[in-house]
């Protein structure tokens, strides 16, 4: 009843009002379990198996997160509503992923391709196969002072950046994979 619930919550009775009281050692044990999981997740990729890496890395991340949420955040003794709320928020994010992935996560689709993504991938590979210097991409220097303060008219024509667009990046002349 809300009448009963309206009784004044003092300053202190809110902390630890519900849920079992565990000795401190209980939390240390959970912490030890988390550390074991951490070691597994670091060791997993060393085996070199891709599927195993995914399982050890992300499966264990989920397990770790759930353990922290349940036992450290005390969601195990919290009202069920809180689980539902947090889970609903996660669902919203997953919904975002599902609606967006069809466009953002793919190189091509029904009647569209991303030529620049092919190019980007090619270039990226090249930059990393070319040794440790990372000339291609690592060399961009951040130069925010060079922000243009051009009056209307100077960049009005696309000539200005149209021409340096091809040189500036040293793009390979290779035609990307798309039909003409």
């Amino acid at each position: 009843m809300s009448q009963a619930a309206d009784a004044h919550h003092g300053h202190l009775n809110s902390a630890g009002e519900h849920g079992p009281h565990h000795p401190a050692s209980y939390y240390v044990k959970i912490w030890a379990l988390l550390l074991v999981l951490l070691v597994i997740s670091i060791a997993g990729p060393m085996l070199g198996n891709k599927v195993l890496t995914l399982i050890t890395a992300f499966g264990i991340a989920v397990v770790k997160a759930l353990i922290v949420a349940a036992f450290f955040m005390h969601l195990n003794v919290e009202k069920k509503f809180v689980w539902y709320m947090l889970f609903a928020m996660l669902l919203a994010v997953v919904m975002f992923f599902l609606g967006t992935a069809a466009d953002v996560m793919k190189y091509d689709g029904s009647h569209w391709t991303k030529p620049s993504s092919y190019l980007y991938t090619e270039e990226f590979k090249k930059a990393f196969s070319g040794g440790e210097e990372h000339e291609g991409h690592g060399s961009d220097e951040f130069d925010s002072k060079a922000l243009p303060n051009v009056p209307y008219g100077e960049t009005e024509s696309h000539k200005a950046h149209g021409s340096h667009e091809t040189e500036g990046h040293g793009l390979p002349a290779a035609e990307p994979r798309h039909g003409t």
């Binding site: 004044h8 609903a88 609606g99 967006t100 069809a102 466009d103 029904s110 980007y120 925010s144 209307y152």
Partner: protein, 572 residues
Amino acid sequence: MTTHVAADHAHSEGDHGHHELSFIQKYVFSTDHKVIGLQYFMTGVLMGVLGALASYVFRMQMAFPGHAVPGFGLVTPQIYNQMVTNHGTIMIFWFAMPVLIAAFGNYLIPLMIGCDDMVFPRLNRLSYQIFLFSALLLIASFFVPNGGFGGAWTSYPPLASNPIYNQTPYGAPMWLAAVALEFVAFLLGGINFITTLMNARAPGMKMYDIPMVVWMIVIASILFMASVGPLVAGAAMLFFDQTLGTGFFDPARGGDPLLWEHLFWFFGHPEVYVVLLPAMGIVAEVLTVFARKKLFAYRTVLWTAVATGVLSFFVWAHHQFVAGIDPRMANIFTVTTLLISVPITEMSFVYIGTLYGASIQLSTPMLFAIAFIVEFLIGGVTGIFLGASGADIYFHDTYFVLAHFHYTFVPIAVIAVFAGVYYWFPKMFGRYMNDTWGRIHFWGTAVPFNGIFIPLFYTGMAGDHRRTFNHLNFPDLARGDLIFWREFSTVSLLIMLAFQVIFFVNFFYSMFRGKKAPANPWNANTFEWVAASPPPHGNFVTLPHCYRGPYEYSVPGRSSDFWPQNEPAPKT
């Protein structure tokens, strides 16, 4: 039960002793929810006036291109874009949201659920201060070199992300920072609203006893919270693109402009319902009081609102049908979009059903409430054209879209707000607003409003596309009938704006000189009318106890036609 009330009472006496506060403490740094609500209201309305002035400038340019706008001067493309962009941004983020959610929410939630303040008064004040700062930041962005941002309120990259393209190296990041700060303010405010409703309800107030406007504001806050997160992250990404030169949205560096469109509209569509629901709530209150009738199927209204909110997370890509998304996805989003018409239709029918067998008094707030339903129905039906993928190919980014969403947003943010202001004014200031001038203001608002946007449906169908500086640059659009209707629309806007002067005069005059109002001038049921008008700090002398739902009007067998929520049932 009574002991609790007494205990509450004792506390309120002890807590809020009558020590004098200075003006600054009382009105600038107050933590009182009513003062903060009014601060939000005034700031929001001021920003709304700014947005309306922007619309005056660009509507004049649309109708009379090339002529200097009286009182402003010649409109260049840069000024035009800046005006259009900031009109949209201001009206949604700095007018509709603060007034509908923050102002009414702050003012009404504690009063209507029968407690003395929001649960976190200082968080509340912080939220307003962040909001105020964001508004000032936005205004400041007009005055930096190269002017304010002009890339439309959707701020699609790469136009928004690269100063080479948008020509506003300072205006664009400032605009973005202002919007992001505004989100933070509303996140804080939203947490406060939600927690207040969940925890601080009057004893006895159960789920279905909560006034609809409170429900709607809280549901809207939850929607906002769940949808805005990705955009906050996206704003950080875009901000880095603008200022540091990262490539999140730059295709040449692996980014994707469509990612921003998704981030934006994933928020942008629920945002429509974030502002719609509070307006629906205000109308529910006004409608029931002046129809002296119980809200038809309270639970249906509540659950259709929830259903609308949930569905709104599945429909966002209908804003992007022709924006380059995979055409197969458009089919899914058409289905979900059309589905959302089910709860919205049901909600509208419930409101109309409430009037069945009623006893309607056409006071000023009631006129606005009815006008809301009338106009919003048009806005809702024209939305189907845009949600249906096939028709949207043509209508996308035309004036038809513009007319459609103004037919939803103007009823929401203007007409429903006026209904709420005329209705709660006696509570806020203890005086009535002048009813005659209110009626004149009503007709001067509701009629010219149609004059503005019905012609725009027509020009949109004829191919006028949005955000165009001068349609005469396009030979096909330099047609006599289109030119006439553009001018007609602008003239209607001028008339509508002129009539708003009446409102402001009436508002400020009545604030000081209006007829004194009693605590419950409309014979309404909800808790806010139990408190004195205007309510003192701490709201209630005795914190009320809730015995019944908020809409028990004209209950058979009672002599009076209303039955306040705090009145105990007679002993049988």
